[in-house]
Subunit: 136 residues, 2 copies
């Protein structure tokens, strides 16, 4: 007993790869358990167990169709994740702005002589002021 575990956060739910695969599958259209089982190549009990978790967390909702259960996506929990990302979006757009201003100043100081497209993958942002004291 003691099923206090049922209060799982949405983040723990989507941490499981099979569950993310199920969600990705359902985003197209609703699917029966058997369809999910076949398309994702995972055993039927495993699918049912994951669907149970997803259902109890509000990610999916079943429609009874005789012996079948057609599961479809519900948006709310995923929107919760979307909302959680918001402060971070503000963070990285601020950094992009800073980078752009920086590049603007660079281009203004010494005009672009030669385009040198190196590793354009992981950009770095200029260092911030670095306070010395620990300050509680």
């Amino acid at each position: 007993m003691a099923y206090i575990t049922s209060v799982e956060s949405v983040f723990e739910i989507i941490a499981e790869p099979n569950r993310r695969a199920i969600l990705a599958l359902l985003v197209t259209s609703q699917q029966s358990v058997g369809q999910i089982e076949r398309r994702l190549r995972i055993s039927q009990p495993t699918v049912s167990k994951h669907l149970r978790v997803l259902r109890e967390a509000g990610f999916v909702e079943p429609t009874v169709d005789a012996q079948r259960r057609l599961y479809r996506l519900k948006p709310e929990p995923l929107q919760e994740i979307d909302a959680w990302l918001e402060p971070f979006r503000r963070f990285w757009s601020a950094h992009v702005d800073a980078l752009e201003r920086h590049l603007d100043r660079m281009a203004q100081a010494n005009p672009p002589a030669k385009k040198k497209p190196k590793a354009a993958k992981t950009r770095r942002v200029p260092n911030r002021a670095r306070p010395k004291g620990e300050a509680r």
Copy 2:
């Protein structure tokens, strides 16, 4: 041995509540390990261990400052989560559209007599067509 575990998905990283708390703390400004320890009230080894995980996953990056390590946020992994959400955003905005069209038709059929702002929290979307055959 067999530390193949280092290839953790970003979703497993943010599944841990303390790690999310650390990220939320760093979104404001960079912090030392000691600051994180005090503000979140978690033990120093625990903080260091979580920071290690976050660092190896590219969520954070330390700056050496004498004995201190100032950790700051890096956007890429969180942007990855943001990108993962994209198809689902399309999904639920489609549903909102459907709901709006539905409400428009309703309002057109019988004009709104009385505003009745009930529970505006969990909306439901009209049922879709429900195919009968399993169809492979």
